[in-house]
Symmetry: C2
Subunit: 202 residues, 2 copies
Amino acid sequence: MFAGAQVSLYPMTDGFVDVILSSLSALDPYRERLRIETDDISTLIVGPPEVLFPALRDLYVAAAGTGHHVVLRATLSRGCPGEPDDPICQTAALANPSEPLGSRQAAALAALSEAPETGEIARAQFSLYVMGEGHHMDEIMGCIDFLKASGCFDRSKNFCTRLKGDSGAVFATLQEAFCRFGPPEGHVTIDLTVSANSPSIR
Amino acid sequence: MFAGAQVSLYPMTDGFVDVILSSLSALDPYRERLRIETDDISTLIVGPPEVLFPALRDLYVAAAGTGHHVVLRATLSRGCPGEPDDPICQTAALANPSEPLGSRQAAALAALSEAPETGEIARAQFSLYVMGEGHHMDEIMGCIDFLKASGCFDRSKNFCTRLKGDSGAVFATLQEAFCRFGPPEGHVTIDLTVSANSPSIR
Protein backbone atom coordinates (compact mmCIF):
# COMPACT_ATOMS: atom_id res chain seq x y z
CA MET A 1 0.00 0.00 0.00
CA PHE A 2 1.11 3.53 -0.72
CA ALA A 3 -0.38 6.47 1.17
CA GLY A 4 0.45 10.09 1.63
CA ALA A 5 -0.26 13.64 0.59
CA GLN A 6 0.96 16.57 -1.43
CA VAL A 7 0.68 19.44 1.06
CA SER A 8 1.02 23.22 0.75
CA LEU A 9 0.76 26.10 3.20
CA TYR A 10 -0.43 29.46 1.89
CA PRO A 11 0.15 32.29 4.38
CA MET A 12 -1.50 35.49 3.09
CA THR A 13 1.31 37.78 4.27
CA ASP A 14 4.50 39.37 2.93
CA GLY A 15 6.31 37.18 5.48
CA PHE A 16 4.98 33.94 3.97
CA VAL A 17 8.39 32.27 3.81
CA ASP A 18 8.96 32.76 7.56
CA VAL A 19 5.49 31.42 8.41
CA ILE A 20 6.06 28.31 6.28
CA LEU A 21 9.56 27.61 7.60
CA SER A 22 8.64 28.15 11.25
CA SER A 23 5.55 25.94 10.95
CA LEU A 24 7.49 23.04 9.43
CA SER A 25 9.16 22.30 12.77
CA ALA A 26 5.76 20.97 13.86
CA LEU A 27 6.54 17.95 11.67
CA ASP A 28 9.73 17.10 13.63
CA PRO A 29 8.14 14.57 16.03
CA TYR A 30 6.81 12.62 13.03
CA ARG A 31 9.81 12.70 10.69
CA GLU A 32 11.07 9.19 11.52
CA ARG A 33 7.75 7.69 10.46
CA LEU A 34 7.26 9.79 7.32
CA ARG A 35 9.13 10.44 4.08
CA ILE A 36 9.11 14.14 3.22
CA GLU A 37 10.18 15.85 -0.06
CA THR A 38 9.62 19.47 -1.04
CA ASP A 39 9.48 21.39 -4.32
CA ASP A 40 8.15 24.84 -5.23
CA ILE A 41 4.49 23.75 -5.43
CA SER A 42 4.03 21.26 -2.60
CA THR A 43 5.58 18.97 -0.03
CA LEU A 44 5.15 15.24 -0.47
CA ILE A 45 4.51 13.45 2.83
CA VAL A 46 4.42 9.65 2.58
CA GLY A 47 3.31 7.50 5.51
CA PRO A 48 0.38 5.77 7.18
CA PRO A 49 -2.85 7.70 7.88
CA GLU A 50 -2.51 7.44 11.68
CA VAL A 51 0.77 9.41 11.46
CA LEU A 52 -0.10 11.60 8.49
CA PHE A 53 -3.27 13.21 9.88
CA PRO A 54 -1.81 14.16 13.30
CA ALA A 55 1.23 15.58 11.46
CA LEU A 56 -1.01 17.68 9.18
CA ARG A 57 -3.00 18.83 12.22
CA ASP A 58 0.12 19.99 14.06
CA LEU A 59 1.43 21.71 10.92
CA TYR A 60 -1.90 23.55 10.56
CA VAL A 61 -2.03 24.49 14.26
CA ALA A 62 1.51 25.92 14.10
CA ALA A 63 0.70 27.98 11.00
CA ALA A 64 -2.67 29.16 12.33
CA GLY A 65 -1.00 30.13 15.61
CA THR A 66 0.92 32.89 13.83
CA GLY A 67 -2.38 34.76 13.59
CA HIS A 68 -2.07 35.31 9.85
CA HIS A 69 -4.72 34.22 7.37
CA VAL A 70 -3.24 30.84 6.39
CA VAL A 71 -4.61 28.02 4.23
CA LEU A 72 -3.37 24.44 4.34
CA ARG A 73 -4.09 22.50 1.15
CA ALA A 74 -3.57 18.78 0.69
CA THR A 75 -4.13 16.16 -1.98
CA LEU A 76 -4.33 12.90 0.00
CA SER A 77 -4.25 9.44 -1.56
CA ARG A 78 -4.18 5.80 -0.51
CA GLY A 79 -3.98 2.67 -2.60
CA CYS A 80 -3.38 4.32 -5.97
CA PRO A 81 -2.70 1.41 -8.37
CA GLY A 82 -0.02 3.52 -10.08
CA GLU A 83 2.11 3.83 -6.91
CA PRO A 84 4.47 1.13 -5.55
CA ASP A 85 4.00 -0.54 -2.16
CA ASP A 86 6.10 1.16 0.50
CA PRO A 87 6.87 -0.39 3.92
CA ILE A 88 6.71 3.05 5.59
CA CYS A 89 2.97 3.13 4.74
CA GLN A 90 2.13 -0.10 6.60
CA THR A 91 -1.02 0.57 8.62
CA ALA A 92 -3.68 -1.09 10.74
CA ALA A 93 -5.93 1.94 10.46
CA LEU A 94 -7.99 0.93 7.43
CA ALA A 95 -11.42 -0.57 8.04
CA ASN A 96 -12.03 -4.30 7.74
CA PRO A 97 -13.20 -5.13 4.19
CA SER A 98 -16.11 -7.30 5.31
CA GLU A 99 -17.50 -4.82 7.82
CA PRO A 100 -20.86 -3.31 6.77
CA LEU A 101 -21.17 0.46 6.31
CA GLY A 102 -23.19 0.93 9.53
CA SER A 103 -20.59 -0.58 11.82
CA ARG A 104 -17.80 1.34 10.07
CA GLN A 105 -19.73 4.55 10.71
CA ALA A 106 -20.11 3.59 14.41
CA ALA A 107 -16.39 2.79 14.72
CA ALA A 108 -15.50 6.11 13.09
CA LEU A 109 -17.69 8.01 15.57
CA ALA A 110 -16.20 6.09 18.52
CA ALA A 111 -12.65 6.93 17.39
CA LEU A 112 -13.43 10.67 17.50
CA SER A 113 -13.65 10.61 21.31
CA GLU A 114 -9.85 10.20 21.42
CA ALA A 115 -9.19 13.41 19.45
CA PRO A 116 -7.06 15.89 21.43
CA GLU A 117 -8.12 19.52 21.95
CA THR A 118 -5.69 21.98 20.31
CA GLY A 119 -7.36 25.33 21.04
CA GLU A 120 -7.08 26.29 17.37
CA ILE A 121 -10.24 26.43 15.22
CA ALA A 122 -10.15 24.79 11.78
CA ARG A 123 -12.58 25.60 8.98
CA ALA A 124 -12.17 22.80 6.48
CA GLN A 125 -13.66 21.92 3.12
CA PHE A 126 -13.03 18.59 1.45
CA SER A 127 -14.08 16.04 -1.14
CA LEU A 128 -13.67 12.28 -0.72
CA TYR A 129 -13.21 10.30 -3.94
CA VAL A 130 -13.58 6.52 -4.11
CA MET A 131 -12.29 4.95 -7.32
CA GLY A 132 -12.60 1.55 -8.92
CA GLU A 133 -15.26 -1.14 -8.86
CA GLY A 134 -18.18 -1.08 -6.47
CA HIS A 135 -20.75 1.40 -5.30
CA HIS A 136 -18.63 4.52 -4.94
CA MET A 137 -21.59 6.80 -4.27
CA ASP A 138 -22.84 4.50 -1.46
CA GLU A 139 -19.48 4.87 0.25
CA ILE A 140 -19.42 8.64 -0.29
CA MET A 141 -23.00 9.07 0.98
CA GLY A 142 -22.16 6.77 3.94
CA CYS A 143 -19.20 8.98 4.74
CA ILE A 144 -21.38 12.12 4.55
CA ASP A 145 -23.82 10.52 7.05
CA PHE A 146 -20.85 9.95 9.39
CA LEU A 147 -19.74 13.58 8.92
CA LYS A 148 -23.22 14.85 9.81
CA ALA A 149 -23.01 12.95 13.13
CA SER A 150 -19.35 13.84 13.80
CA GLY A 151 -19.93 17.04 15.75
CA CYS A 152 -17.94 19.19 13.33
CA PHE A 153 -20.21 19.09 10.29
CA ASP A 154 -20.73 22.65 9.08
CA ARG A 155 -22.60 22.32 5.78
CA SER A 156 -22.67 20.67 2.39
CA LYS A 157 -21.57 22.66 -0.62
CA ASN A 158 -21.43 21.75 -4.29
CA PHE A 159 -18.59 19.25 -4.81
CA CYS A 160 -17.50 19.22 -1.13
CA THR A 161 -18.41 19.25 2.56
CA ARG A 162 -17.48 21.89 5.15
CA LEU A 163 -16.32 21.01 8.66
CA LYS A 164 -15.76 23.42 11.54
CA GLY A 165 -14.40 22.85 15.02
CA ASP A 166 -11.28 22.46 17.08
CA SER A 167 -8.42 21.30 14.85
CA GLY A 168 -8.12 18.13 16.94
CA ALA A 169 -11.68 17.07 16.13
CA VAL A 170 -11.58 18.23 12.50
CA PHE A 171 -8.39 16.35 11.56
CA ALA A 172 -9.56 13.24 13.46
CA THR A 173 -12.82 13.37 11.48
CA LEU A 174 -10.88 13.68 8.22
CA GLN A 175 -8.72 10.69 9.19
CA GLU A 176 -11.81 8.55 9.85
CA ALA A 177 -13.34 9.61 6.53
CA PHE A 178 -10.13 8.61 4.73
CA CYS A 179 -9.69 5.25 6.51
CA ARG A 180 -13.20 3.82 6.96
CA PHE A 181 -14.89 4.52 3.61
CA GLY A 182 -14.01 2.97 0.29
CA PRO A 183 -12.50 -0.51 0.07
CA PRO A 184 -9.32 -0.99 2.17
CA GLU A 185 -7.46 -2.22 -0.90
CA GLY A 186 -9.10 0.47 -2.99
CA HIS A 187 -7.97 3.81 -4.34
CA VAL A 188 -9.30 6.61 -2.12
CA THR A 189 -8.34 10.29 -2.32
CA ILE A 190 -9.22 13.50 -0.51
CA ASP A 191 -9.00 17.05 -1.84
CA LEU A 192 -8.64 19.14 1.36
CA THR A 193 -8.59 22.86 2.19
CA VAL A 194 -8.30 24.14 5.79
CA SER A 195 -8.52 27.86 6.44
CA ALA A 196 -7.40 29.85 9.50
CA ASN A 197 -8.00 33.47 10.48
CA SER A 198 -9.90 34.48 7.35
CA PRO A 199 -11.10 38.10 7.50
CA SER A 200 -14.27 37.17 5.63
CA ILE A 201 -15.78 34.31 7.60
CA ARG A 202 -19.37 33.57 6.56
CA MET B 1 -25.22 17.40 -16.24
CA PHE B 2 -23.72 19.52 -13.53
CA ALA B 3 -20.22 20.93 -13.89
CA GLY B 4 -18.15 23.53 -12.16
CA ALA B 5 -15.48 24.26 -9.63
CA GLN B 6 -14.77 25.50 -6.15
CA VAL B 7 -12.00 28.04 -6.74
CA SER B 8 -9.68 29.99 -4.43
CA LEU B 9 -6.91 32.53 -4.99
CA TYR B 10 -4.10 32.67 -2.42
CA PRO B 11 -1.92 35.78 -2.84
CA MET B 12 1.08 35.55 -0.50
CA THR B 13 1.05 39.25 0.41
CA ASP B 14 -0.35 41.53 3.11
CA GLY B 15 -2.47 43.06 0.32
CA PHE B 16 -4.16 39.73 -0.47
CA VAL B 17 -7.69 41.18 -0.38
CA ASP B 18 -6.84 43.77 -3.04
CA VAL B 19 -5.19 41.17 -5.29
CA ILE B 20 -8.24 38.90 -5.04
CA LEU B 21 -10.79 41.65 -5.63
CA SER B 22 -8.92 43.21 -8.55
CA SER B 23 -8.40 39.81 -10.21
CA LEU B 24 -12.09 38.93 -10.02
CA SER B 25 -12.93 41.47 -12.73
CA ALA B 26 -11.28 39.01 -15.15
CA LEU B 27 -14.43 36.91 -14.76
CA ASP B 28 -16.72 39.72 -16.02
CA PRO B 29 -16.81 38.63 -19.70
CA TYR B 30 -17.97 35.17 -18.60
CA ARG B 31 -20.52 36.06 -15.92
CA GLU B 32 -23.59 35.64 -18.14
CA ARG B 33 -22.64 32.03 -18.87
CA LEU B 34 -21.63 31.09 -15.31
CA ARG B 35 -23.24 31.01 -11.88
CA ILE B 36 -20.86 32.39 -9.25
CA GLU B 37 -21.22 32.25 -5.44
CA THR B 38 -18.55 33.13 -2.84
CA ASP B 39 -17.95 32.28 0.80
CA ASP B 40 -14.86 32.60 3.04
CA ILE B 41 -13.17 29.41 1.74
CA SER B 42 -13.89 29.35 -1.99
CA THR B 43 -15.92 30.64 -4.92
CA LEU B 44 -18.31 28.26 -6.62
CA ILE B 45 -18.31 28.65 -10.40
CA VAL B 46 -20.94 26.57 -12.21
CA GLY B 47 -20.96 26.25 -15.99
CA PRO B 48 -19.77 24.26 -18.99
CA PRO B 49 -16.06 23.35 -19.33
CA GLU B 50 -15.55 25.45 -22.48
CA VAL B 51 -16.47 28.58 -20.49
CA LEU B 52 -15.09 27.50 -17.10
CA PHE B 53 -11.48 26.84 -18.17
CA PRO B 54 -10.98 30.10 -20.10
CA ALA B 55 -12.52 31.95 -17.12
CA LEU B 56 -10.09 30.26 -14.72
CA ARG B 57 -7.20 31.04 -17.07
CA ASP B 58 -8.07 34.73 -17.20
CA LEU B 59 -8.52 34.85 -13.41
CA TYR B 60 -5.09 33.27 -12.97
CA VAL B 61 -3.45 35.59 -15.53
CA ALA B 62 -4.90 38.66 -13.78
CA ALA B 63 -3.68 37.49 -10.36
CA ALA B 64 -0.24 36.45 -11.65
CA GLY B 65 0.10 39.81 -13.41
CA THR B 66 0.26 41.58 -10.05
CA GLY B 67 3.75 40.07 -9.68
CA HIS B 68 2.98 38.62 -6.25
CA HIS B 69 3.43 34.94 -5.45
CA VAL B 70 -0.15 33.77 -6.04
CA VAL B 71 -1.68 30.30 -6.11
CA LEU B 72 -4.98 29.44 -7.79
CA ARG B 73 -6.60 26.30 -6.39
CA ALA B 74 -9.65 24.58 -7.82
CA THR B 75 -11.74 21.50 -7.16
CA LEU B 76 -13.38 20.77 -10.52
CA SER B 77 -16.21 18.30 -11.07
CA ARG B 78 -18.51 17.10 -13.81
CA GLY B 79 -21.33 14.58 -13.70
CA CYS B 80 -21.41 14.05 -9.92
CA PRO B 81 -24.48 11.82 -9.34
CA GLY B 82 -25.24 13.82 -6.18
CA GLU B 83 -25.71 17.10 -8.08
CA PRO B 84 -28.85 18.11 -10.04
CA ASP B 85 -28.85 18.74 -13.80
CA ASP B 86 -28.46 22.43 -14.54
CA PRO B 87 -29.24 23.98 -17.97
CA ILE B 88 -26.33 26.45 -17.57
CA CYS B 89 -23.95 23.46 -17.75
CA GLN B 90 -25.16 22.26 -21.16
CA THR B 91 -22.07 21.47 -23.22
CA ALA B 92 -20.91 19.92 -26.47
CA ALA B 93 -17.33 19.73 -25.20
CA LEU B 94 -17.38 16.21 -23.76
CA ALA B 95 -15.91 13.42 -25.88
CA ASN B 96 -18.14 10.99 -27.74
CA PRO B 97 -18.79 7.92 -25.56
CA SER B 98 -18.04 5.40 -28.31
CA GLU B 99 -14.77 6.99 -29.38
CA PRO B 100 -11.71 4.85 -28.56
CA LEU B 101 -9.01 6.27 -26.29
CA GLY B 102 -6.52 6.78 -29.15
CA SER B 103 -8.79 9.03 -31.19
CA ARG B 104 -9.79 11.00 -28.08
CA GLN B 105 -6.08 11.59 -27.40
CA ALA B 106 -5.59 12.78 -30.99
CA ALA B 107 -8.60 15.13 -30.77
CA ALA B 108 -7.31 16.54 -27.48
CA LEU B 109 -3.90 17.27 -29.05
CA ALA B 110 -5.53 18.88 -32.09
CA ALA B 111 -7.61 21.17 -29.87
CA LEU B 112 -4.48 22.55 -28.19
CA SER B 113 -3.45 24.36 -31.37
CA GLU B 114 -6.27 26.85 -30.76
CA ALA B 115 -4.99 27.87 -27.32
CA PRO B 116 -4.22 31.60 -27.11
CA GLU B 117 -0.88 32.95 -25.88
CA THR B 118 -1.23 34.99 -22.67
CA GLY B 119 2.40 35.86 -21.91
CA GLU B 120 1.98 34.62 -18.34
CA ILE B 121 3.71 31.38 -17.29
CA ALA B 122 1.65 28.81 -15.32
CA ARG B 123 3.20 26.06 -13.20
CA ALA B 124 0.38 23.64 -12.53
CA GLN B 125 -0.02 20.42 -10.61
CA PHE B 126 -3.17 18.34 -10.83
CA SER B 127 -4.84 14.98 -10.32
CA LEU B 128 -7.62 13.61 -12.53
CA TYR B 129 -10.09 11.27 -10.84
CA VAL B 130 -12.51 9.05 -12.76
CA MET B 131 -15.24 7.48 -10.65
CA GLY B 132 -17.80 4.75 -11.23
CA GLU B 133 -17.85 1.61 -13.33
CA GLY B 134 -15.24 0.86 -15.93
CA HIS B 135 -11.49 0.93 -16.19
CA HIS B 136 -10.68 4.12 -14.35
CA MET B 137 -6.91 3.55 -14.43
CA ASP B 138 -6.97 3.03 -18.24
CA GLU B 139 -8.59 6.44 -18.62
CA ILE B 140 -6.15 8.07 -16.18
CA MET B 141 -3.11 6.46 -17.87
CA GLY B 142 -4.53 7.44 -21.28
CA CYS B 143 -4.84 11.01 -20.05
CA ILE B 144 -1.23 10.97 -18.80
CA ASP B 145 -0.07 9.81 -22.25
CA PHE B 146 -1.91 12.79 -23.74
CA LEU B 147 -0.27 15.11 -21.19
CA LYS B 148 3.19 13.82 -22.09
CA ALA B 149 2.54 14.73 -25.74
CA SER B 150 0.84 18.06 -24.95
CA GLY B 151 3.91 20.27 -25.00
CA CYS B 152 3.47 21.45 -21.43
CA PHE B 153 4.20 18.24 -19.54
CA ASP B 154 6.74 19.01 -16.82
CA ARG B 155 6.98 15.83 -14.74
CA SER B 156 5.05 13.17 -12.85
CA LYS B 157 4.94 13.35 -9.07
CA ASN B 158 3.33 11.06 -6.54
CA PHE B 159 -0.46 11.53 -6.75
CA CYS B 160 -0.30 14.19 -9.49
CA THR B 161 1.23 15.52 -12.71
CA ARG B 162 3.04 18.82 -13.20
CA LEU B 163 2.51 21.04 -16.25
CA LYS B 164 4.48 24.13 -17.21
CA GLY B 165 3.99 26.60 -20.01
CA ASP B 166 2.12 29.65 -21.13
CA SER B 167 -1.18 29.88 -19.24
CA GLY B 168 -3.07 29.62 -22.52
CA ALA B 169 -1.58 26.22 -23.29
CA VAL B 170 -1.72 24.95 -19.70
CA PHE B 171 -5.41 25.74 -19.14
CA ALA B 172 -6.30 24.38 -22.60
CA THR B 173 -4.48 21.16 -21.72
CA LEU B 174 -6.37 20.94 -18.42
CA GLN B 175 -9.68 21.46 -20.27
CA GLU B 176 -8.92 18.61 -22.67
CA ALA B 177 -7.94 16.33 -19.77
CA PHE B 178 -11.24 17.12 -18.05
CA CYS B 179 -13.44 16.69 -21.15
CA ARG B 180 -11.94 13.79 -23.13
CA PHE B 181 -11.13 11.20 -20.44
CA GLY B 182 -13.60 9.29 -18.31
CA PRO B 183 -17.10 8.50 -19.60
CA PRO B 184 -19.06 11.58 -20.79
CA GLU B 185 -21.94 10.65 -18.47
CA GLY B 186 -19.47 9.76 -15.74
CA HIS B 187 -18.24 11.48 -12.62
CA VAL B 188 -14.86 13.11 -13.30
CA THR B 189 -13.02 15.48 -10.98
CA ILE B 190 -9.76 17.43 -10.98
CA ASP B 191 -7.76 18.65 -7.98
CA LEU B 192 -5.79 21.61 -9.40
CA THR B 193 -3.05 23.91 -8.14
CA VAL B 194 -1.50 26.64 -10.32
CA SER B 195 1.40 28.66 -8.95
CA ALA B 196 2.76 32.04 -10.13
CA ASN B 197 5.91 33.92 -9.17
CA SER B 198 7.14 31.48 -6.55
CA PRO B 199 10.49 32.52 -5.07
CA SER B 200 11.55 28.87 -4.79
CA ILE B 201 11.07 27.45 -8.28
CA ARG B 202 12.70 24.07 -8.71
